[in-house]
């Protein structure tokens, strides 16, 4: 090390190379840059000409100068010069050194300065060969051992120190020091403080100086405006968030910028917060539209790297979420008739809508997922029966405060579960129809005391159809809105801590024109206001919070740390000893080593544990006991010059390179070659920009099966577990497939058997499902799967196979097969069924059929009832999602390996077998072509209209 004034050369030996400079000068002088060599046949013609031109044999002086400067820069850069402010170390004496470092959040902002000073102090101790004791003042989960160590060892530990997102706890340190050393050891103490007095500075200083009966204490204080700024819990204010910042130094005006960041770190807004002289608190409102406000994940002070200047916002701050689900899947085709269209439009501006049916994945229910993630309000349109698991979780969720809003509808009227506010009569009541005496009813003005009170009711709103409540004693208390004739329109009931609300009409305009009016929007808005917020303040008392914890399986679990703050205010992975926090504790718990500040999560919900909820009182360290030396952190800058020197050398090298090019005349040739280089560059960039290979799709449980099933159309049957029945099903579908290939454009592959509990069924347009009398009920997962399959356009042909054997016609009782079918479909939302009407598409989708025989003849075929609007009301494309027969179709279709029929038909005849095959073909065509065939029904009418 060589120090010249303010410049220190860290590798002074390299400076000896400067002696070489004259040699380099001489070498450069005698070796001019080499010209380009040209082989040239007619050189003799040039011979006489060159006498007129003097050739430069010397390097131009400026080129030499450039090269000398280059060499000089390199030599100096290797010597590693550093500009240093002189730093004198803090302390004298021969006592062991006790280094106390405040590693609190307030110290994080100037952490490097602290570390450097600490290193200097330890370095000096090393040069004086004094042992060092290092203590930090934030609480630790395991208190470190206090013993003097060699200074070199301590220097390593100092380099690894990081600030904690915690306040200091100095008295505990003082206690530990007293226990460890007591009166025995005298120390020279250096205390690198964070400048904040939490009321214990006097005691701490006294304790320190008391060590060993009179240690010397040197306190290093930061400048008053270098102490930390704390952000505490913001308040919701009109159109934004009111943030509160606290500082320690009451003097002077100070302006900081508070930023609002989204969860992904994007900056949403910034607001200047100005501290007035004499005040330690400042407030300002960050103006943000509601949608953006819900995105805020973090508030922090721009330019302050400190955990105290960060406030994390969890999902208690975001707006209410509403889950939507409806039966039927027609909306893809006709949005204005979609069950949820008007609800969606009404709620969209005010709440976050969570459509549930789209999210359903095999094996799990979108509804349960959404409830587990937390909903404020759940809206079910025309859903009568939920699967038992869904129903249980909805019930649990309502018990905990959720708000369930249901709309009636044809399915709901047919059957409904018990999650309704009032007892309902079966069926619906039509008003103003051809067979009805009554006129369509208007709505009566809303009563005072109901949530809808005050909403004006326009007289043109009429209800043509509704579900009726059983008149019970307590009915009147549950009615929120009624029709002019007194029948309830909206009923509600408190259920646990939550509420169930039922609209006795549909959510679309089928039954009334209520959804078309502004009143509907206002009513839904009032309901939304009633709905518990997604924000919970107190786990114990508030219903708000309960709504979020509605999960029947995991009641009141603990939140485990997901990301924690380090002292710099950065989110890092939680330390190994971080413990989960019970939900109830969040508002009382303060960060500690076991519960570090940060984000805690469970089931997709997060809670933030912040360093400051209430605005803290920050105080500067003021007077210290006598005999304590006070100094301040000096901002020391040592600037390394090696980098700039190397840069200069590089620049000079480039200049020299250019100069040599110019001198040798190569520049012109380079210019001409540049074109080719450019073409290559374009080619290379083309390569670089070419699209990356497509990412792999998400994994499918059984890719081979899925691939095979998805690549070709094939019929599928559900395996019953009875080998005979399954063999008949297989043979039957084989026969039907052969007939399809022979007679129609359907080129189906060989049929497959499906285990309804485990296999994926979404690939098959049609499932043939023979029902045995002893068929077991479906598991909840399978029920959900079948339900989703039917809702999304699949069709199942159930075959009870018992028409010829059962005696139902005589006794009037349902057959065992039908009972088994009811058992199987107990938890599936089955639409209203009807016998195939005469003009149904099934009767004419390929062959014209009057009846649908199988092995037996005469059993009826049931399909989804086609509401009041022709083909549209059934399912996707007007295809009935369920077809139920009892004629044992597979046995009629079944062929053996030689293509011969396996079973006789009854009453018999080839014609019946032919008709059975035609039935099968019609069913397949019906399923595959949908409303195209339905439209074909109208062809005669269309032709007639065209004047044929």
């Amino acid at each position: 090390m060589l120090t010249l004034g303010a410049i220190t050369f860290q590798t002074a030996a390299a400076l000896w190379a400067l002696l070489l400079l004259p040699l380099i000068w001489w070498l450069l002088k005698i070796t001019p840059p080499r010209p380009e060599r040209v082989s040239f046949p007619p050189i003799r013609f040039l011979l006489g000409l060159i006498a007129r031109e003097e050739t430069p044999h010397k390097t131009p002086w400026w080129l030499t100068l450039i090269r000398m400067a280059l060499a000089l820069c390199l030599i100096l850069a290797i010597a590693r010069p550093v500009i240093n402010e002189d730093s004198t170390a803090a302390q004298g004496g021969n006592d062991p050194l006790l280094l106390v470092i405040d590693d609190s959040w307030a110290a994080a902002d100037n952490w490097t300065v602290r570390l450097r000073l600490a290193t200097e102090v330890v370095d000096q101790a090393r040069s004086e060969d004094r042992p060092v004791v290092l203590v930090t003042t934030t609480p630790k989960s395991t208190p470190p051992t206090l013993e003097p160590r060699a200074a070199a060892e301590v220097a390593d530990r100092i380099a690894a120190l990081t600030p904690q997102a915690l306040p200091t706890d100095r008295m505990r340190v003082a206690e530990a020091l007293r226990e460890a050393f007591g009166a025995t050891t005298k120390f020279a103490i250096t205390w690198l403080s964070d400048g904040l007095d939490s009321g214990d500075v006097d005691g701490f200083a006294t304790a320190l100086t008391g060590l060993g009966g009179g240690s010397t204490l040197q306190v290093v204080l930061p400048a008053a405006d270098q102490t930390g700024i704390a952000l505490s819990k913001p308040a919701l204010a009109g159109d934004g968030l009111e943030v509160t910042a606290t500082r320690a130094n009451p003097q002077g005006t100070q302006t900081v910028r508070v930023r609002a960041l989204a969860h992904n770190g994007r900056s949403l807004a910034e607001q200047a917060v100005t501290f007035q002289p004499g005040e330690t608190q400042a407030r300002a409102v960050i103006q943000l539209p509601l949608q953006l406000r819900n995105d805020i994940g973090r508030l922090d002070v721009d330019g302050r790297r400190s955990a105290g200047s960060v406030y994390l916002l969890d999902d208690r701050w975001s707006r209410k979420s509403v889950g939507l689900e409806a039966a039927g899947s027609l909306e893809a085709n006709q949005p204005l008739l979609a069950p949820l269209y008007y609800v969606t439009r009404a709620l969209e501006p005010y709440a976050e809508l969570v459509p549930l049916s789209q999210e359903a994945k095999p094996g799990e229910s979108g509804l349960q997922n959404a409830l587990a993630a937390g909903l404020s309000m759940l809206l079910l349109a025309d859903i009568g029966q939920m699967s038992p698991a869904d129903r249980d979780s909805v019930r649990a969720w309502v018990d905990r405060g959720g708000m369930l809003v249901r709309f009636a509808g044809p399915r709901f009227a047919a059957s409904h579960d018990d999650l309704v506010p009032v007892q309902l009569r079966e069926g619906d009541r039509a008003l103003g129809g051809a067979l009805s005496w009554e006129e369509p009813q208007p709505i009566a003005p809303f009563d005072e005391g109901t949530p809808f009170a005050g909403i004006p009711v326009p007289p043109e709103i009429t209800v043509t159809k509704q579900v009726l409540a059983q008149p019970t004693a307590d009915l009147a208390t549950k009615v929120w809105a009624r029709l002019a004739d007194g029948t309830p329109l909206v009923t509600a009931e408190q259920h646990g801590k939550g509420m169930i609300v039922l609209f006795h009409v549909t959510a679309n305009a089928d039954w009334s024109n209520l959804p078309l009016s502004g009143v509907f929007v206002e009513m839904l808005q009032r309901l939304l206001d009633l709905a518990p917020g997604a924000v919970s303040s107190d786990a114990g008392s508030s219903t708000e919070d309960q709504a979020k914890t509605a999960n029947s399986k995991l009641p009141q679990g603990n939140f485990s740390p997901v990301r924690t703050l380090n002292g710099f205010g950065e989110l890092i992975d939680p330390p190994a000893d971080a413990r989960p926090v019970a939900l109830a504790d969040f508002d009382t718990l303060r960060p500690s080593p076991m519960h570090p500040a940060g984000l805690y999560g469970r089931d997709g919900r997060t809670r933030a544990l912040n360093l400051f909820e209430e605005a803290p009182e920050l105080k500067l360290i003021g007077d210290l006991p006598a005999g304590v030396n006070v100094s301040t952190y000096r901002v020391q800058q040592s600037v390394s010059l090696a980098g700039p020197l190397l840069l200069a050398a590089l620049a000079l090298f480039l200049v020299d390179f250019l100069a040599v090019l110019v001198l040798s005349g190569t520049l012109g040739q380079i210019r001409s070659r540049f074109a080719a280089g450019l073409a290559l560059a374009i080619l290379a960039s083309g390569l670089a920009l070419s699209p990356p290979p497509a990412e792999a799709q998400e994994t499918v449980p059984n890719p081979a099966f899925a691939m095979e099933s998805a690549l070709s159309t094939k019929l599928a049957y559900v395996r019953t577990g009875n080998p005979d029945v399954d063999a008949v099903s297989e043979a039957g579908l084989t026969g039907l497939t052969a007939a399809l290939i022979e007679r129609t454009a359907v080129e189906a592959d060989a049929p497959v058997g499906i285990d309804i509990e485990t296999d994926e069924i979404v690939f098959f347009p049609l499932l043939y499902w023979p029902i045995l009398p002893d068929a077991p009920a479906l598991s909840p997962q399978a029920s959900a799967k079948v339900d989703a399959y039917l809702k999304n356009g699949g069709t199942i042909l159930f075959d009870t196979r018992d028409h010829g054997t059962s005696l139902q016609d005589l006794t009037g009782a349902t057959s065992p097969g039908t009972r088994a079918l009811q058992l199987v479909l107990r938890d599936v939302n089955v639409p209203q069924l009807t016998m195939v009407p005469p003009e149904h598409v099934l009767t004419k989708s390929f062959y014209l059929l009057q009846n649908f025989p199988g092995r037996w003849d005469g059993g009826p075929l049931w399909v989804e009832a086609a509401g009041n609007g022709g083909s549209g009301a059934a399912n996707f494309d007007g295809v009935s999602s369920v077809i139920i027969g009892s004629n044992d179709y597979a046995a009629a279709w079944a062929v053996d390996q030689n293509g011969q029929p396996m079973y006789d038909t009854s009453p018999g005849g080839e014609r019946q077998r032919e008709m059975a095959l035609r039935t099968g073909i019609n069913v397949v065509m019906y399923v595959l072509t949908g409303n195209y065939k339905a439209d074909q029904v109208h062809v005669p009418a269309l032709l007639e209209r065209l004047g044929q």
Partner: protein, 309 residues
Amino acid sequence: MLATGLNILVAHRAQKTPHLTPLDEAGRLAEAYPALLVQADRIAHTVAMGFHGRRRPGTGESFWQFQRYRPGDEAQRIDWRKSARSDQLYVRENEWEAANTIWMWTSGSPGMHFKSKPAQSTKAERATLLMLTLAALMLNGGERVGLLGSGRTPVYTRSGLERLALMHQALDGGRELPDAVPPRHSNVIIFSDFLLPIEAWRDRLAPIAERQVRGHLVQVFDPAEETLPYTGRKEFEETGGSLRFIIGRTETVREAYRERIAQHRDELRSLARRLGWSFTLHHTDQPAQQAILPLYGLLEGSLTPRTRV
């Protein structure tokens, strides 16, 4: 986009490096011209059959005259159809048709292998191509073509072109015009860059011209040699030689150099004129066809050396 770029690149490269031997290329070039019958004022007395009619009876294929049968004539040669019209017996005589002999020489000096940037090939390649093309045309015309200094007899069959090419490869030109002098009344075509001083050429060409040989000089020149396109500081070295020196600013000597080249060429032209020979200039950045066409005309005689200046 990338694929098309590559295609263009490949096509471009394919265009730039044709995989053709000079022989193939010469054959291709020759296809474009009819067979070449070299103009000959006087034909050397050779027994070789050719197409140059000697306006006297002899061996040949064209009819020349009928002559009374004289005893001693072979009976086979009697033209019976003619004889049947009269009482005389007539013998049919054909014109004596002989072949012309053309001797060629291509300079093989190291400088001939020079190729600058805009040029398509080296001077030597181009000269060989021109020579073989002309030879192919002449062989088609029934002429005899030989290589000066090869010591071999001229070839005269159409398949002789290959032999000629091999001969040329083995001979490799030589730096200077060989001392071997072609026979009288033959033709000589010399391909070279003619960079030797004019005196040297004068000395070499004089003995050939003495023997009433028609000569054609073809100067194959590189465009860089013509224009001296270099700029800045350059070190020039003689191709295949030891001479080398540096010129500080090449552009300053360009004018003077061009003048010198022009003067040298003028001297060559006047030398050719004096000998009654032709002089043709060809640059290697031009397609070979551009040289073939005037040479064809000159050799055929439809273009006189006078008109070609």
